[in-house]
Symmetry: C2
Subunit: 352 residues, 2 copies
Amino acid sequence: MSGDSTINPGSCPIPIEKYPHIVMAHGGGGRLTRQLINDMFRSAFSNDLLERDHDSAVINVESGSIAFTTDSFVIHPLFFPGGDIGELAVYGTVNDLSMSGAIPKYISLGLILEEGFAIETLWQIISSIKLASEKCGVSIVTGDTKVVEHGKCDGIYINTTGIGFVPDGLTISPASIKPGDAILLSGDIGRHGISVMAKREGLEFETDLESDCAPLHQAVKALINANLDIHCMRDLTRGGLAAALIELAETSNYSIEINEESIPVCDPVRGACELLGFDPKYVANEGRFIIILPKEQQEKALSILKTIPVSSNTVPIGKTLNTKTSQVVLLNAYGSRRILQLFSGEQLPRIC
Amino acid sequence: MSGDSTINPGSCPIPIEKYPHIVMAHGGGGRLTRQLINDMFRSAFSNDLLERDHDSAVINVESGSIAFTTDSFVIHPLFFPGGDIGELAVYGTVNDLSMSGAIPKYISLGLILEEGFAIETLWQIISSIKLASEKCGVSIVTGDTKVVEHGKCDGIYINTTGIGFVPDGLTISPASIKPGDAILLSGDIGRHGISVMAKREGLEFETDLESDCAPLHQAVKALINANLDIHCMRDLTRGGLAAALIELAETSNYSIEINEESIPVCDPVRGACELLGFDPKYVANEGRFIIILPKEQQEKALSILKTIPVSSNTVPIGKTLNTKTSQVVLLNAYGSRRILQLFSGEQLPRIC
């Protein structure tokens, strides 16, 4: 993981003395567009499919199931403690694919750049995308670059769309959820949202708080290789744990019961949330997920997840119920029960 | 095709008296995000894959080749004579897939919306995407919506990423180009760029000039069904005919010879280009393509393309040469020869 000071992208392949900034012509389809594509993108992401220089990447597939997902990234600031927009754009799509049990494989990269954006910063982000995609075993096989006038975007917006291959026989989806399933949470919540907000607002914490921004494909792979009967998984992004649970209760048509005290929250996140009036259950994460599977497989899943760094602090947090009310019920230590509600609004804008 | 006055989207499924504009919370993952997704997007694009409400769409595939392509759309204005950003976003990706010979099938939709954008205009664009995707036989199977602060984008930016299935045995690509191949152009050039610019700048033409914005999948399908040995195809977008020819010469490593007089340009485009100092060969199109195939199949291809409305004015414009200089040579009626150069810059920004 890398903040603004830790990326070492090597030398930018475009001479930045001569071309310091993105200009409108970089999006015009002419010589400067070709320079950006050939000298920067193609050299960073070099692979056979990209080399063919065609309107589409043509990919060989075996018969079976593929997963297909898209995400745009408009995070502000572009660099934050524990990550940057580049790795976030790769991990976000890798994680969405992983949640279907798919092995992430191919990614498309759509860039919208603002006139005046520094070429060196673009190279830093492209380098970060390169490293992140290597880490996840995915290839950037097709892309598109647009440039808009100064003031018409905020530096850079990134879309990544991914394709992964779903191993035979897997049907990991909200429709597979059964009553009595155990619900596991892969680690403490709220780090991403709070660290991005802290950087944006200039808040200081006593300890270094970093985003949880990370790829989840290894943890998912370990679960699948162990032949666990995973019913559903969901990564916790915008809207946090709360939105994920509420959506799954609604889609599966089963209620969910959560032991509120079992949800891990680290001290800096808890402190910031208390100070600012946030509920950590609604704060965004970028490297946490929940796993829903038969109760009798809970211990085996926990023992596997604890061996993987990204999920080493996985805990059980609740279960699905045999009631069709589609509610998420929070239990606290005193036995009180309340229904978790979806916020209408947004606590923290542009955290992904 | 539809300009701002011709779309009749039916009644907006979100009550616009109560929710007239996009607010930041529409991108926050909470209740307003769910309302937008469920009431507007899901109702418009209803299909089995979208209904599953999972992070990825899971698609069954047969063994073979798939084509994968991405495009972002930042066109200004959003509505222009002959089209709008919604249909452009569908046709653009359908056309990129078609250029590999693929049958377009699945599309992802990534929206970046500006705070304050009118919900009714969004519905108009979503309705246009729905109509365009039905026309092309593609399904919107997964999506993502982000909202940025007022002033941080220009109303709406759209990314579409597409998957298509390539029929067995096809290898349509720049690498398949051979010396002596015929080059056909599917119609007159420059309509899209000039009509968008005219709308933007408030120019008036004596005749109604409309964008050529259209899907090319039917024309491609007809060529493939006729078992023609198509070597390569390329749709003419940013950079126009010139950029497409120069890129293909560079990638194939063969030079190309074009008879300049054979390139059709309609009177309003020619007039506007003369007035403004543009060369129509560099002006963007969104419904034109070139076809490269063996010379002996030229007449058969022409007879097929002329039966399809979108390519009814197809003409031969030149051939590939057996020289490795990778140049595009323009011949005129007086026998003079000049080399076509890639512009460094951009004549018309944000035309797609």
